[in-house]
Symmetry: C2
Subunit: 278 residues, 2 copies
């Protein structure tokens, strides 16, 4: 692991790091915020998964998480959203597929299967690195994210409920198998047999018996992706049918941007802190 | 004035606007945050001047001012740092001069005098527009900024002490007539007679008798521009000699970036709110 930069912020340290990912077969960059409490002891770790077009940097710059993470003593890890580099296949004119749009799946279809293995990167490879390099208490992990990253957080929590003590999302893609911006991506990453998509779709995972105790979801009512792309009502129905506790808050007049995320970041961090133990 | 965008954030509205500036002879973009209290009454207004290379957007995205401005009921105006557009003379490879580097002076030298009139834009033209378009109480104005914008805030406060009830700065350029990155710019904007630079130099203005009751200045000790570019000790000496109250806080290990600004934003907003009346 190589350190790109570290900066004091809110009493802690915001770092950016790069490592060679065997899983994604490329260099991967990620951000880690260490609150001041990290000098003395192991702390809970919260994984933030970003949305389409983002890198590790967007939420690091615009998410406004450091003040409260420093108060609560939580380490925040912000990975990238896809493999990167000249050797990685891409559709440069398509912001909903390829670089910046890994959808947190392990692709099975050539030529994407070689690099687009974001599920294994987030669930297996990066946690090992974070555990080896930072003072994290891996018995206290939470996961959250925005849009495509909210989809990633919810699906990863549903598939790994023993690992995560908390999960929340800002405007998550709730039913990617049917949304206009995720269906073509799933087809290219996972093939045309839609049965294979169910392992990466929150609504399908719940239908298929996966469970997580509770979710917090914030969704802006002025979000232009609400109806087709995000579909929070379908997540609500799936959770209701399955008896999963979903706190879905429709936030009047809010959009899809970091102005929305940063507004409700404090509520989410407190939600996670209460469940991970402060 | 044309609205570029408005977004709900922290209970208020973050807007971006553009207007034709007669003073700068070009279109000028600026950001205004209206806290929720603005729906019912006129509120204090705080002017934030940004540093080299920035537009209105940098502090809007990374400054973390909205949460507290919404709590305190303060309107925040973030102007651009220079004239813009194809017709504006520039040195594209020089980040310390031209576009993004207006230094809040009224240039006197051709070809820059036609557009680079940021002092008059900030002090005369933009306030008239803001007063006409937003619910601001112009009897309660404060001003602050970062680096080149801290220089702008302090010099504008010193020259207009009757207008501003409060002034603070993050890592201001304190003595631009002698700093490596501002001296060449002053020469090109204001000519080679250094007497004419004194009207835009905080230390010189104080030496020449200008006064402001008190300043809050935060400065990171790990700021790579500390010694040559910023020179807070020279501001301290000038203030001491003149009997101006300067609260200069050296912040251990902090750099020059928005990670530093956002950390101490809350302290600055509370400083202004106490002086402007909450």
């Amino acid at each position: 692991m190589k350190t790109i930069s570290t900066e004091n912020s809110h009493g802690g340290t915001q770092g950016v790091y790069v490592n060679r990912s065997d899983v994604c077969d490329c260099d991967m960059t990620f951000a880690v915020f260490l609150p001041p409490q990290a000098k003395g002891r192991k702390l809970p770790v919260l994984w933030y998964l970003s949305g389409l077009t983002c890198t590790h940097a967007n939420v690091m710059e615009k998410g406004e998480y450091r003040r409260l993470a420093a108060e609560l003593g939580i380490i925040i890890v912000c990975p990238d959203t896809s493999p990167r580099g000249d050797a990685v296949p891409d559709e440069p004119d398509n912001w909903q597929f390829g670089k910046g749009a890994g959808f947190y799946v392990d692709a099975t279809e050539p030529p994407f299967a070689q690099n687009y293995r974001m599920y294994s990167y987030i669930v297996d490879e990066l946690p090992k690195l974070i555990e080896a390099e930072f003072p994290v208490d891996m018995t206290r992990q939470g996961i959250f994210g925005h849009s495509m990253g909210g989809h990633g957080a919810i699906t990863i929590a549903l598939k790994n409920p023993e690992r995560f003590g908390s999960c929340s999302a800002f405007a998550p893609i709730s039913h990617p198998s049917v949304s206009g911006w995720s269906k073509p991506a799933f087809q290219k990453y996972l093939g045309s047999d839609e049965k294979n998509w169910r392992a990466y779709d929150a609504c399908s995972l719940i239908e298929d018996g996966h469970r997580f105790p509770e979710f917090l979801v914030d969704q802006g009512t002025a979000d232009s992706f609400l109806e087709d792309g995000l579909r929070p009502e379908e997540l609500r129905q799936a959770c209701e049918t399955a008896g999963i506790s979903l706190r879905l808050r429709m936030q009047e007049g809010y959009g899809h941007s970091y102005f929305f995320i940063s507004t409700f970041m404090e509520d989410h961090l407190r939600w996670h802190a209460r469940r991970l133990g402060e």
